[in-house]
Each structure stands twice: as C-alpha cells, then as structure tokens.
C-alpha cells in the first residue's frame, strides 16, 4: 500500500509541474506597467485635445479680436471638435486594447493559480485515501486541465492579437520599406503636431492682439518708469557730487589740522630744548634747525594736500560733467559756469570756492525740483498700476497657457514613440518569455500627467 501511495505522490508532483507548464503560468507577461503608462499617455493626449479646444474657445471670445475674427474662430472651433472625434475614439480603443490584454493576463494568472490549487487538492485526496485506488483518477484530472489549456490556444491567440495590433498601430510596409498603410501611431503623431501648430498659431496671434490692445497702458507705464529711472539717475548723480565735495572739504580741513599739529609738536619739542640753554650761539643753531624742520613738514604736507586735492578736483569736475551731460534741466548751470569762468579769469582769486558754491546752489535747486517730479511720477505710477498689472497678468496667462500646452504636446509625441517601442517589445517578450519593461513610456507618461496636474496639486 505504501508503495502505491509513494508512486502516486511522485507522479502527482511531476504532473503538477506539467500542469503548471501547460496552464501557461508566465507565458503571458505581466503588462500592468504598460497598461498603466498607456492609460496615462492617452489621458494626457485627450487633455491636449481638450486644452487646444480651450485655446480656440478663449480666442473666439477674446476681446482683443474684432467680431469678424471671433466669428471665424467659432466656426473653426466647431470644425476642430468634429474633426478630433475619430482621434479621441482611437485613444479609447487603445485603452480598451490594453485593458483587454491586462484582463487576459490577470485572468490567466488567476486561472493558473486555481489549476495548481485543484491539483494540490487532488493530491490531498490521495494522501487522505492512502491505500485507495485513486491516483489514476487524479492523473486523469490533471490531464484534463492540460488538455483544456491546449484546446483554449490562449497563448497563440494572445500572440496573434498582439501581432495584429502591431500592424494596425505601426502600419504596413512593403519589401522595399515603402508605407502601404499608415499606422495609428503615425496618424496620432501627425495630429499631435497639428494640435501644436494650432496652439502656436492661435496663441501667438492672441498675444499679439492683446499686446496691441494694451499698448497705451503699457507704453504709458514704460514711459513713467523710464522718466522715473532718469530722475533717479540724476538724483543719484547729484548726491554723489555733493558727497565728493564734502569728502574733499573734509580731507583738506583734516590734512591742514594734521600739518598744524605736527608743527606745534615740533615747536613744543624745541621749546623744551631751549630751557637751560644760555649759549646764544647754540640757541640760534637750534632755532634754525627747528625752523628748517617746520619748513620741511609744511612743505611735505602741503605737497600731499595739493596732490590729493588735484585728484579730487578732477573727480568732482568729471562728476559735474557727467551730470550736465545726462540732465537737460542743468542747462542753466552750464551757462552760469561758462559766464563765471570768463569773468573769473579777469578778477576773483577765490574763484574755486565761489565756483563750487555756485554749482552746489544750482544742484540743490535742481534736486528739489526732481524730488517734486519723482513724487508726481510715483503718484502717476500708482494710479495706473492696477490697470497695468491686470493687462500684464492677462498677457502672461495667455503665454503660460501656450507654453504649458506646447510642453504637453511635445511630450505626447515622445510618448507615442515610446508606446510603439513598448508594444514592439511586448511582441518580442512573447517569443523570448522575458519580462516586459515599459520604463521609458512610464517616465514620459508621468511627466505628461505632471504637466496637466492642477496647479494646487503641484
């Protein structure tokens, strides 16, 4: 009895392997990633169609277009919607195809699991009924299951189906490689290109019309901005001039004080030496030495002061020249200086001081006038700012919509290529029994879904 039982167990283990082989576990690959990526792709392409329609809708109601253009766009939009129906239908069919393949793969996996469970249950009967003459019946059941799967020809049908769809999707070519029948992928790619062209053409024109409509407000804004910048530049120049003059005066005063301090210290030093010297000759020698040293200090300090002053004067003159060049409002000062310089050659010795006072006075007057002007410009800017901001935001919105849709349509084109590549790999997978990968399509599909994700979710 025991021998019969062992034989039965051995034959059951063998039959279990055979049954699993025939039931095709692993013959039909897992296509869940392909199905997921394909569904992402078709969703995003549908969104691309919908968004192109939205661009047409926005254009057909765009106030920057005249009513005649709006009317033409409305008619084109209706044509567009009708023309895109077969494209949307084809996308539905692609979804249906992947769903059906996925259903077969899943049902197949489930069926294989249930077949294995059935064989295992039969094994359980044999084990429980050791000594009963049941193994022959169990063998018959396993044979029945394998026969069933053979009759079903599922794997063959699956392959045939994938091959047929490859022809539909990729098209037919003759021996020379010439296209006999265009594939769905190529047709969809051409339609995606057409959507991109529509988006580019309509969006660009809409933006041009919006720019034209807002020309007065934007140009006015830009002029105020330009004037304000010019005023700010002159004000900054005046401030710089005043700073240079202050630094110049500060340096001169400090340098003279430093020089006088050095002289005073020398005097003190020699005064201390004079105490207790009764020899008049020696005292005169020391006085002469002191005077010579004081003269040296004075000479050296004055040289340094004069040299620095000359540089500073050059910088100040250059700054004034720059100011007179950038501000027409200082024309009066230019004339006054010309007149002053002509008169100065004949008379005043302290002309530098007077000349500078003349410049500072005129600049301060101009500064006050410019500050009043800048206040007026700021008020004007604030007044037009809401209208300007609204105009710019409207224009930017149209640009952003154009760019986002373009990005989606460019990705759609790549996704269709990746779909064809993955489907071709599925065909090879069925022959080589390797696992199916859909990485590229998954990556592109995710990028597309990210583009169409509502702003708040990003």
């Amino acid at each position: 009895m025991k021998t019969t039982y062992r034989t039965a167990r051995k034959s059951l283990a063998l039959l279990l392997v055979i049954a699993l082989l025939f039931s095709g576990c692993g013959e039909i690959p897992d296509i869940s990633k392909f199905a997921e990526a394909s569904s992402g792709m078709t969703t995003a392409i549908r969104k691309g169609v919908a968004q192109t329609d939205e661009v047409l809708e926005a254009a057909s109601t765009e106030p920057a277009f005249d009513s005649e253009t709006q009317g033409k766009l409305k008619k084109q939009r209706a044509d567009f919607q009708a023309a895109l129906k077969p494209t949307l239908n084809t996308l539905d069919k692609i979804d249906g195809y992947l769903d059906a393949l996925q259903a077969i793969a899943q049902a197949h996996k489930k069926s294989a699991e249930q077949s294995a469970a059935l064989v295992s249950a039969v094994g359980g009967v044999v084990k429980a009924a050791s000594g009963l003459i049941i193994p022959a019946a169990a063998t018959n059941i396993i044979t029945a299951i394998t026969t069933l799967y053979r009759k079903l020809e599922l794997e063959k049908d699956f392959k045939q189906r994938v091959n047929m769809v490859s022809e539909i999707m990729e098209g037919k070519k003759d021996a020379t490689g010439a296209v006999i029948q265009e594939g769905v992928i190529d047709l969809l790619k051409l339609n995606v290109k057409a959507l991109k062209d529509i988006n580019d053409g309509v969006s660009e024109t809409m933006i041009t019309a919006i720019i034209d409509r807002n020309a007065v407000i934007t140009q006015y804004h830009n002029q105020i901005l330009g004037n304000d910048q010019r005023v700010q530049r002159v004000l900054a120049g005046i401030l710089e001039y005043k700073k240079l003059v202050t630094e110049f005066n500060d340096f001169s005063a400090k340098a003279v004080l430093a020089r006088d301090l050095d002289i005073a210290r020398l005097n003190n030093k020699y005064n201390r030496k004079f105490v207790g010297i009764s020899d008049q000759t020696e005292r005169r020698r020391l006085e002469k030495e002191r005077d010579e040293k004081i003269e040296d200090v004075k000479k050296q300090a004055d040289q340094e002061i004069n040299s620095r002053n000359a540089e500073d004067r050059e910088i100040i003159t250059s700054q004034l020249k720059y100011l007179l060049g950038i501000d027409a409002g200082l024309a009066g000062l230019r004339d006054s200086l010309k007149k002053f310089d002509e008169e100065d050659r004949r008379a005043d010795a302290n002309s530098a001081v007077h000349r500078q006072a003349l410049v500072i006075g005129a600049l301060e007057q101009r500064e006050a006038a410019l500050l009043t002007q800048t206040k007026a410009l700021t008020a004007d800017m604030q007044r037009i700012n809401p209208a300007y901001t609204e105009a710019v935001a409207y224009q930017n919105k149209a640009r952003a919509r154009h760019n986002a849709l373009n990005a989606l349509l460019i990705k759609s084109d790549s996704a269709l290529d990746a779909w064809a590549e993955t489907h071709a790999r599925l065909r090879m997978t069925l022959n080589t029994k390797q696992p199916l990968t859909a990485t590229r399509l998954l990556v592109v599909a995710r990028e597309m879904l990210d583009i169409i994700k509502p702003e708040k979710e990003k």
Binding site: T90, K93, A103, A107, I141, G183, A194
Partner: protein, 163 residues
C-alpha cells in the same frame, strides 16, 4: 526665407513702415512655407507690435490683422489635415475594436473556466474531508469517490470553442 530685422535700428516712422513692409513681403512669399516659418513670421509681427511706438499704432493694426490672417489660414489648413486622416483612423479604430472584442472574449472565457476549476477544487476538498472519515475497506464509498473523480476528468469539456 525670413528677412532679419535689426529692431534696435528701427526708430523713425519711415523705418517702422519699412520694417512692416518687409514682414508683409515675407508673409506673401511664405504661402507654401512650413508651419515653423509661418510661426516665425507671427513672432516677427508680435515683436513689431510690442516695440513700435504709439504714434505708429495704425501700423500695429495692420500687423495684428496680418497675424490674424495667417492664424485663420493655418488653422483651416490644420483642421483639414486632421480631417483627411480621419478615414484611416476610423478604419484602424474599427480593426482595433475587433481585436479588443476578441481579447475581451478570451478574458471572459478564462474567467468562466477559472470559476469552474475553482468549483472543482472546492468539490475535491469536500471529497478529501469525506475520505478522511472513511475506513480502508469501505468499498461502496471508494466506488462513489472514484466516480466523482472520473467526473472531474471531463473537466476539459467545459471549454467549447464556440462559446
């Protein structure tokens, strides 16, 4: 071929007129050009409208209208191209539908078979429980069990190709 315009050198009114005339001339020459060239011309028109001063706004209106004209012509052309591909797409969608239906039938068949196999497994499990309670010499019961198991060996008959 699009004539390049040095926008920074366009300042006087005659220069603005000349710039627009150049673009409009290019547009006339581009009737058969590809979409990328036509879009570049639309961009030129946009730059014109954006840069031109308010005093020549009459020219802006002409530029906008030129862009609108390109838009309508190209839009009509693209929609017509899509329509022209529709017959092929419809045939392809139909063929895809046939394959989808067949695949769905296969999937349905598999689901039904799985259900049957599942039932068989449950029945055999019941038989196993029954066997566990039987003695070795219960010949009648063994015959009954064998008959049940023989019944399962006709499991392959649950598949009929015309289902």
């Amino acid at each position: 071929m699009i004539t390049p315009i040095k926008w920074d050198l366009v300042r006087t009114d005659p220069q603005w007129v000349s710039a627009l005339a150049t673009i409009l001339g290019d547009i006339e020459d581009s009737a058969q050009a590809d979409s990328s060239e036509r879009q570049q011309l639309q961009s030129q028109l946009q730059t014109f409208v954006q840069r031109s001063p308010e005093r020549v706004s009459a020219l802006d209106k002409i530029a906008v209208q030129a862009s609108v004209d390109i838009m309508i012509v190209d839009l009509t052309r693209r929609v017509a191209e899509i329509k022209a591909r529709n017959a092929q797409l419809e045939v392809a969608a139909l063929a895809l539908g046939v394959e989808v239906d067949a695949a769905n039938r296969d999937a349905g068949r598999l689901v039904r078979i799985t259900a049957e196999i599942n039932k068989a497994k449950d029945a055999i499990t019941t038989v196993k429980d029954m066997v566990a309670r039987l003695g070795d010499d219960n010949a009648d019961a063994i015959d009954t069990i064998r008959a049940i198991l023989d019944g399962f060996s006709r499991l392959n008959e649950i598949y009929r190709p015309n289902d």
